[in-house]
């Protein structure tokens, strides 16, 4: 029996390839994700081990509020006395004061150089560090810098040339005195851009305080362990200092990145899961068709005395074989893809991250085989059960079994859809992930089960639009011929399209809502803000610039704000200092529920309604606030703002607190022009004020909104790319169904050719069938996806999704793409059908 099954599998190589391919792609996605994230994880561990290889203990000021932005200034600075204090601790060989901060070099085109996540670092040059001078000499004068080889490469700088750098201060220009690299001929440690200044320059530009240090790097005497030394220094300095060993720091930073990578891996695996889910439809369909075509063969085996168990076994073994082969191929392909992506990441994405060797983690192997085999067997189970129910007499009958009624399928589909929809609603309402995911899954299965019923009227309608000639009519009729087969093929396509559509609807609604809020609530004409690239915020400016903007002719009012994390009654909130609160009140159209909106005196704070409620505070109440650099103090609530979508989760602080922020600079300013003033002209006169800071742009409101919402387009693009695989697998399904149908209808095709159908007409017939199936799947996906999107937007109404936006253009393009996909999917089966030898086809059994 086993031998017969294996022979039967091998005899159907085409089917093996087609149904196996869906699994291969899914498994490839899974194992590729594991290989990629594992490689990157180990590479980052190596990176931080290298970074801290010359550090036994590092001393810094303990942050009072956790920092989000790695490029922001430190929580506080140390003095030369601190360095001396550390030096005197027993067991310290050397203690060197570091000056490390953010320095963003400007490239030749006048734009600030960016990386893909690695920091842009400024330091004070230290002899005897890891840096190896390659060319020139270290910075000796205050107008000289040494730059890393990677920065020289990225910006095209050479020794003797000028380089402009943004730091806490606006643009300053230096001469490149030298270019340095790192051991092992590396241009950077991990794709970072480093500028080394003289110590006094670095202290002024990076820390804003002469004589200050951001940290102290300590090397231990021989025989003194890192941990022992750490404890001694901690004891000597006291609790205001943060003392960590080099190993500890390397581990902490690697772990932080590792967490991000783990999340990234989950996201990739989620998309792999979707692809595999679609794969199940394809395999289920393939096996169903195979079992239907083998009815006589299986019945003959039954007649010869094979048991039902053996029938099920024969199909399941076939599935296991396919699953096993597909897993091996998928794992191999996944390792290749993972390695490729890791290389792409290290060269393009991460600058010059030194890749650890590609290895295959056990998780990749285990998950590949588990997923590949389980998915295939799961998908083959239903067809296997059907095979077991084939009566021995079927061998004697013509294979034409009557259509089974769809009642049971429809009832089950309806029930599942309802349950799924209910769970979705529950999940959206509660904002919890698992009910949403399982609801989605159940809804998709439910709709897939309902599809055969829907397919009859819808397919004939779509067909009528497409079928204007005889081959078209035949194609349309063929696609309506087996509703289950058409339905499951279309349903596979539905899943991908529905998810893309749902996300599109949600994101379009977000854009619509943001745009509407901006249009109706923000009365600013110009917005001055830093452009953030790859999440690297830059472009802050001194408050004096806001004053200069105010003095510009045509400007009626303007205000800027500073932001930093603060702790209020122990909770982390968004601290905001506004240069002119009444101006904000006017420009944002704010109202208060209690208190008067006015500039805050020392010791006063303002809250928005939601934050006040969350903190259980009201006007006149007191709260303790901890800023990054300042001391913890008690503040009185001066006003509470009525509910607004413009500020959320915010604590407004008096202007004097700005100096206690990690970075005492304004990051955004809003400008209202005089009535009748030409906004473009005002903008032209404001722009020169920021000419020394290419990170800052002056935009009118609509382009500012477009810039903000453009990020959503990137999100949509990423999701579309990741879902493309699910759609690709669905396309394989369409090809598969058509190819198997062509084999099944060999005689019919032969007859058509015999009575004079041209090859082109045969191809058109197959193409129409394919397009009908694809468009049907896309329509289902659009309807289901739009419903999902609308439900999500409804659920998120309180989170600022005030308006529903349906991306009609996008939805239309998905439909067109689906039609195109149908044409492409038909190519191979159509060629196969057209090439049939007429004589052989009409005598085909």
């Amino acid at each position: 029996m086993l031998k017969a099954t294996l022979k039967s599998v091998l005899a159907r190589k085409l089917r093996l390839v087609l149904s196996g391919l869906a699994v291969v792609l899914g498994v490839m996605f899974v194992s590729g994700s594991f290989v990629l994230t594992d490689t990157l994880d180990r590479s980052f561990k190596d990176l931080f081990a290298t970074v801290y290889s010359e550090v036994d203990v590092e001393v810094a000021v303990k942050p009072k509020v956790d920092q989000d932005n790695p490029e922001a200034a430190r929580a506080g600075t140390l003095t030369a006395d601190d360095v001396k204090a550390v030096e005197s601790v027993d067991g310290v060989r050397t203690a060197v004061g570091d000056v490390i901060g953010s320095a963003r070099p400007i490239g030749e085109n006048g734009k600030v150089l960016t990386t893909s996540g690695a920091p842009r670092v400024g330091t004070a040059w230290r002899d005897g560090g890891q840096e190896e001078m390659r060319e020139g000499h270290p910075p000796r004068r205050d107008d000289e810098v040494a730059i890393s080889a990677y920065l020289a490469e990225t910006g095209g700088f050479q020794v003797g040339e000028q380089v402009s750098v943004l730091t806490l201060e606006p643009k300053r220009t230096f001469t490149v005195a030298g270019i340095f690299g790192y051991p092992g001929n590396r241009a950077s440690l991990g794709g970072e851009l480093t500028t080394a200044f003289t110590e006094t320059t670095a202290q002024q530009l990076l820390l804003g305080t002469p004589g200050a240090f951001s940290g102290i790097t300590v090397r231990a005497d021989d025989g003194v362990s890192q941990a022992v030394l750490r404890d001694r220094i901690q004891a000597a300095l006291g609790d205001a200092y943060q003392v960590k060993t080099g190993e500890q720091l390397a581990k902490e930073q690697a772990d932080e990145i590792g967490e991000g990578l783990a999340f990234f891996n989950y996201v990739l695996l989620g998309f792999a899961g979707i692809a595999l889910f679609v794969g199940i439809f394809i395999i289920l369909n393939t096996f169903s068709i195979i079992v239907a075509q083998r009815t006589r063969e299986l019945a003959l085996l039954r007649a010869m005395g094979a048991s039902r168990k053996q029938m099920i076994g024969s199909v399941v073994v076939e599935a296991v074989v396919i699953g096993l082969i597909a897993s091996v191929v998928g794992l191999g392909a996944g390792i290749g893809v993972g390695a490729l992506l890791a290389n792409v990441f290290s060269t393009i994405g991460g600058g010059s991250l030194h890749l650890a060797g590609i290895a295959v983690p056990p998780s990749a192997i285990i998950s590949s085989f588990a997923v590949g085999i389980i998915v295939t067997v799961l998908a083959a189970l239903l067809p296997a059960l059907r095979a077991s129910r084939i009566a021995p007499v079927a061998a004697l009958r013509e294979a034409a079994t009557p259509d089974r009624p769809l009642t049971r399928l429809t009832v089950a589909g309806g029930a599942l859809s309802l349950v799924g929809g209910g769970m979705l609603g529950f999940g959206f309402a509660g904002g919890s992930l698992w009910p949403i995911l399982s609801g989605l899954l159940l809804s998709f299965i439910g709709v897939a089960l309902l599809t055969p019923l829907i397919s009859r009227p819808v397919v004939s309608l779509i067909g009528k639009l497409l079928a204007w000639s005889m081959p078209g009519t035949l194609g349309r009729r063929n696609s309506a011929r087996n509703p289950r087969r058409t339905a499951i093929t279309a349903a596979a396509l539905m899943v991908g399209i529905a998810l893309i559509t749902g996300v599109s609807v949600v994101l379009t609604s977000a854009t619509t809502s943001i745009t509407k809020v901006a249009d109706t609530q923000i009365k600013a004409d110009l917005i001055i803000s830093g452009e953030s690239t790859n999440g690297q915020a830059g472009g802050t400016f001194g408050p004096d610039r806001v004053e200069k903007v105010l003095a510009t002719p045509g400007v009626e009012s303007a205000f800027g704000w500073y932001n930093d994390g603060v702790l209020i009654d122990g909770q982390r909130k968004f601290g905001t200092v506004v240069t002119d609160v009444p101006a904000m009140e006017r420009i944002f159209g704010l109202t208060s529920t209690s208190g008067t909106i006015s500039d805050l005196e020392d010791g006063e704070i303002g809250l928005d309604e939601a934050t006040a409620t969350a903190l259980n505070l009201r006007q006149g109440g007191t709260a303790t606030v901890q800023t990054t650099k300042g001391e913890q103090r008690a503040y009185t609530v001066a006003f509470v703002l009525a509910k607004t979508t413009l500020v959320a989760d915010s604590v407004f602080l008096p202007r004097s607190t700005a100096d206690e922020f990690a970075l005492a600079q304004v990051n955004t300013a809003f400008v209202k022009t005089d009535p009748g003033a030409n906004v473009a002209d005002v903008r032209k006169s404001i722009e020169p004020l920021f000419a020394d800071n290419p990170e800052v742009s002056v935009q009118d409101l609509s382009s500012f909104v477009r810039q903000q919402t453009a990020q959503l387009d990137t999100v949509l693009l990423m999701i579309q790319i990741l879902l493309a695989l699910a759609i690709l697998i669905a396309v394989l399904g369409v090809i598969n169904t058509l190819a198997l149908s062509v084999i099944e209808r060999t005689r019919e095709l032969g007859l058509l050719r015999a009575i004079g159908m041209r090859r082109a007409q045969v191809m058109r017939m197959i193409t129409v069938e394919s397009v009908v199936i694809s468009v049907f799947g896309a329509l289902l996906g659009l309807v289901v996806g739009t419903a999902l999107g609308v439900a999500a937007v409804q659920a998120l109404k309180d989170q600022g999704f005030t308006d529903l936006g349906i991306p009609w253009m996008q939805l239309g393009s998905y439909l067109l793409i689906a039609a195109g996909v149908g044409v492409v999917a038909a190519i191979l089966p159509a060629i196969r059908a057209a090439r049939l030898n007429v004589l052989q086809a009409i005598s085909y059994e």
Binding site: A400, S469, M470, P471, T473, L474, R477, N478, A480, R481, R747, E748, L751, L752, R753, A754, I755, G756, M757, R758, R759, Q761, V838, L839, I842
Partner: protein, 252 residues
């Protein structure tokens, strides 16, 4: 050589073999035959005699090694796929033993299929005449699965006739039918030759079926060995016995 307007189909010294070297089998060994317009001809012969091959070559379904094949004024050998398709669509009608109809189409749609494929209009008067002759008027909206075997074959006959082809080729058209349904189909083929002037060429191994024809051609080992005109079933059977004796073949 030009096409003879008097004959609907013609084979001139046609040779055809399958396989190469040791395994080569000669299916047709210099067959020359003409089929007169408006006559019903049966081709008979034992299995492997080349009767099906001859029909396939005449209809342009199979290629020949040498010789010439004409349908009306069209030389079949040398035509490429496009020309052959055109030929099959407009000058040849087919009736196969089984699977003659497309299951997704109604009887009427099946009948008019060759015209629909060619984008031609249906000649209603001719269509009605054909339908009434095969007696399918009340079955036109039925699907093939709702028709009996005999009815299906009559639909196939109507389809073969509806485009008014030069020749209708029928390959064992009654092979799957009971004798009564078979008699109906054969009677119709005979009438279409005599009443409509339709040339019909039928391959069969059934002497009774052959007796409906105006002329019977006997093939053996790829050659035409005997010919009968206006045969009776008994005459056909006698000829077969004689031929069997010559070839020492046993026919059950």
């Amino acid at each position: 050589m030009t096409g003879n307007v008097e004959s609907a189909a013609r084979a001139v010294d046609v040779w055809k073999s399958y396989g190469t070297g040791e395994a080569a089998v000669t299916a047709l060994a210099g067959v020359s035959v003409e089929f007169d317009r408006g006559r019903f001809t049966a081709i008979m012969g034992p299995s492997g005699s080349g009767k099906s091959t001859l029909m396939h070559c005449l209809a342009g379904l199979d290629t020949i090694d040498s010789g010439d094949v004409w349908i009306g004024a069209t030389k079949v050998n040398g035509l490429r796929d496009k020309g052959l398709t055109e030929l099959r669509r407009s000058q040849v009608g087919f009736i196969f033993q089984q699977f003659n109809l497309l299951p997704t189409l109604t009887a009427e749609e099946n009948i008019t299929l060759p015209l629909a494929i060619g984008g031609q209009k249906v000649d209603r008067a001719w269509f009605d005449a054909v339908i009434d002759t095969v007696g399918l008027r009340d079955r036109l909206t039925h699907r093939p699965t709702q028709l009996s075997g005999g009815q299906q074959q009559r639909v196939a006959c109507a389809r073969a006739l509806v485009a008014r082809p030069e020749v209708v080729f029928a390959d064992e058209p009654t092979g799957n039918l009971d004798s009564r349904s078979g008699a109906e189909v054969l009677g119709f083929l005979r009438r279409s030759a005599h009443e409509f002037g339709q040339t019909v060429v039928m391959v069969t191994h059934d002497p009774n079926a052959a007796s409906y024809a105006d002329r019977v051609i006997f093939l053996a080992d790829g050659r035409i060995v005997r010919e009968l005109h206006d045969p009776t079933a008994a005459a056909v059977l006698d000829t077969m016995k004689v031929l069997d004796g010559d070839d020492r073949l046993v026919v059950a």
